[in-house]
Structure formats: C-alpha cells, structure tokens
C-alpha cells in the first residue's frame, strides 16, 4: 500500500511541475533575456510569425535608401554625379556585367585590376588511357597600387586565385607550383604550391602586398618535392594576362602596354 501511495504522490508532483513549466514557457515570450525566452527562440526562431501572426506580409518598402559608402557598390549615392541611376541594387551582384554601380573605375586615382586568366596546357596528357585536357583559371585582383592617390589604399595588395582541373596526379616526389611571369625580363615569381582536391582538381589562393603591374602571365609548373632549386621547372599550363580595361595609372607613360 505504501508503494501505491508513493507512485500516486510522485505522479501528482510530476503534474504540478509540468503545469509550472507550461506556465513559465507561455510567459517566456515577453522579453529577450532569460532561459525561457531563449528556449522560446530556439523552439520558434521566426519571431515575426509569433509577433505579427500568420497573415502578416513584409511590406515592399525600404529599397530606396541613399548614402553610398566605399564598401557599398550597389547604392545610389547622393553625391554621385557620374551615374545618377534610378535604381539601386540591394543584393550583391558579384561579377554580373549588368550590375548597377556608381563606382567609376576610371576616375583619377582609382587603380584596380580585376581580371581572369585562362591557362592552356602545353602538352596533351593521358591518364588511365583517357586524354586529360588540363586547364585552369586564375583570377587576379589588385587594389591600392597608387601611393597617396585619392581613394587608394597606401599599401598595395593583390590576390591570386587559381582553380585547376585535370592536372594529373604526381605522386609523392613532385608537386605543382604556380608562378607569375614577367615576360620582359623572363622572371617568374613563385606564389605557392597547388593543393589537390577531389577528382583531379586543385586550387591555390594567394595574397600578398605587391602590385601585379609587372606580370604578363600566370604559369603552373611541376617541381620536385622537396626542391632545393627555387627556379621554375617544366611548364604544364600557361596563360597570358589580358590587358585590363579598367586600369588607370597616374603616370601612364611608365606603365607597360598591357596596362594602359
């Protein structure tokens, strides 16, 4: 009989406790802090639903904000005289050529390179009986290369991103290395080893504080690993950097033909 009493009592306590818990949980949507509010948010993160109800629709408004900054390229600026466009892009457009921007890269002092390079193979390579057409794409971004000029940053910074495909696996004794080439002086600047990914794809991302102006091409070679000779080995892929349209340098007479 004692055990039956115990069970009944514990069930009663459980009921009382759950009732309190339910009560606290329903009170918990009043504020932001506290355990109950956190639990409520974790349970239902869509507070718009809780606050406005299920029939609420977000108004189609707030898209005409003004006041552009140097970081916000899609804004319609109040001070822009060159492009006073009637719409503003509110989503990042990336490299979309139709994107609306108030940034004119040709105004004085703004020096920026953003170009893509297609790397073509030197020789045909076979792997497991199949012809593998090795190819790569490099993207070169440079900014801030003109010291003390307008909106430029004082320290030049450049970034090179390379994605390769169908480069044959080399084993443990060799490794692919990427280079920037100055064809005038036949100088190749090592920018790092490629990291292999899945399915014969590999990539490299490299950034440094330097202008990309002297360089005419991007190259990928095979190097012994480890290597005691820092000079470039056998060339596998090679791609010339096309002249950048949007580059303006403050003293164009000293710039190479490709960058004017």
């Amino acid at each position: 009989m004692y055990a039956v009493k115990l069970v009944v009592l514990s069930l009663l306590l459980l009921l009382i406790g759950s009732a309190f818990a339910q009560n606290f949980a329903e009170q918990g949507n009043g504020g932001y802090a506290g355990v109950n509010s956190r639990l409520v948010r974790a349970d239902d993160p869509f507070s718009r639903y809780r606050y406005f109800g299920p029939d609420y629709q977000y108004p189609f408004a707030g898209y005409g904000s003004k006041g552009s900054s140097s970081k916000n390229f899609g804004e319609k600026g109040t001070t822009s005289s060159a492009f006073n466009l009637d719409t503003s892009s509110r989503t990042p457009q990336g490299r979309n050529p139709a994107r609306i921007s108030n940034v004119d890269p040709n105004f004085r002092g703004y020096s920026k390179v953003d170009t893509s390079v297609k790397l073509e193979p030197f020789t045909q390579q076979f792997f497991a009986g199949q012809l593998k057409y090795a190819q790569a794409t490099a993207r070169l971004v440079m900014k801030g290369a003109a010291y003390g000029q307008g909106t430029n940053e004082a320290i030049p910074s450049s970034e090179v991103s390379i994605q390769t495909k169908n480069l044959l696996p080399l084993g443990n004794d060799n490794i692919y290395e990427a280079w920037l080439v100055d064809e005038d002086t036949e100088y190749a600047l090592a920018i790092g080893f490629l990291r292999s990914g899945i399915d014969l794809a590999s990539s490299l991302r490299f950034s440094f504080s330097r202008s990309l102006a002297p360089f005419d091409a991007v190259m990928i070679t095979v190097e012994p690993f480890p290597d005691t000779d820092p000079r470039p080995g056998e060339t596998i892929l090679y791609g010339s950097i096309n002249p950048a349209r949007n580059v303006l340098r403050t003293s164009p007479s000293s710039a190479p033909e490709t960058l004017r």
Binding site: L189, G192, F193, R210, S211, P214, D229, A255
Partner: protein, 184 residues
C-alpha cells in the same frame, strides 16, 4: 513491493560494474600506454621538411650622417630591420611566413619611393619578391608574407628601394640585407 526499488537500483548499478570489468567492452582505462619504440604515432618523418624558423638582423648598406644636433657623436638615425623567416610542412603541405620590421628608413613621402623585400638563393641566383611596403616618418614598417611554399632554399633576405609607380620587377638599389642560416 518494498524490495522493488532497491532491486532496480542494484540492477542498474550492476550493469555499469559489469561493463567495467568485462573483457569485451573497451573503455579508455583499458587502452595500454605504449611508450618508447612501441609508441604508436601518425607522424611521418619523410613528409616533414626541415623546419626553418629564425630571426634575421638586417644591416643597412648606408649610414645617415650626423645632423649636428647637440654635441654631435653618433647619428640619431640608424636604418635597420629584423625579419623572422619561418617555413614548415604541415600535413604534407608546406607553409611559409616572413615578417619584417624596419626602423629609421627614409619615409616614402620624402623620397617618393617604396621598398621591396626579397629572398635570395645565392646558389642559383633566384630572387623571390615577397612584396612591397611603404614607410612613414620614422621609417617604421611592418611587413608580412604568407604563402603555401617553403623557403629552405633561400639564404639571404634583402630590402631594395623602388619607385612608387614600379612596373619593373628588377630590383632597385639595396637598402638592408641579412643572411639566413641553412636549416639543419
């Protein structure tokens, strides 16, 4: 009924005791600690390049003449720098960092020029350009280079003077230089 609750407790406790003493169930206490030659490790020494990690003091190639302030003596300005060259292999891939700090170099605004950092391999004559930096008053610069490469082949570090609008990769006049000891 009175015995039910203690019996249940004893049963539950006995399960954990059984797990602790039985042979078939592995717990962390049962893994033997192997030391010495029998130690199991995932370290692969053949993948490991010799690590390069050293500080290099950079000496100037010129001296600033005493400007005659006060009673004379040594020049107030002594162009100098220090570099830390680090090159390791991690998970089979190399990674390298170079940090360089300078003091009392001429300021870029005064001389209308910038400075370029090079690593030199005297055996092959190859020069690796690490990048450029500019200085302000006091000639202070803090330069950093990070790359997926290794720098074991290089035995010298140099800072050269370049024009601000530098479209020529060839090095300009030498300003600071230092030597990297070869790794063991």
């Amino acid at each position: 009924m009175k015995l039910l609750v203690p019996a249940l407790l004893i049963l539950l406790l006995s399960i954990s005791v059984f797990a602790a003493i039985s042979e078939g169930i592995a717990t962390s206490a049962k893994v033997p600690i192997r030391l010495g030659v029998s130690r199991v490790s995932n370290y692969e020494p053949r993948l490991h390049l010799s690590t390069l990690n050293q500080f290099v003091a950079l000496q100037p190639t010129y001296s600033v003449p005493t400007l005659g302030v006060g009673r004379g003596g040594a020049s107030n300005y002594h162009p100098r720098g220090s570099a830390r060259v680090r090159s390791v292999a991690s998970y089979g891939y190399p990674s390298a960092q170079v940090t360089l700090k300078t003091k009392d170099l001429p300021s870029s605004a005064d001389v209308r020029g910038q400075f370029e950092v090079w690593l030199i391999d005297s055996e092959t004559g190859y020069r690796l350009s690490l990048g450029t930096f500019t200085t302000q008053q006091g000639g202070v610069a803090d330069f950093r280079y990070v790359a997926d490469t290794y720098l074991n082949a290089y035995d010298g570090i140099e800072v050269t003077f370049e024009p601000l609008d530098d479209v020529d990769i060839t090095p300009g006049p030498l300003i600071l230089y230092g030597f990297i000891k070869p790794p063991e």
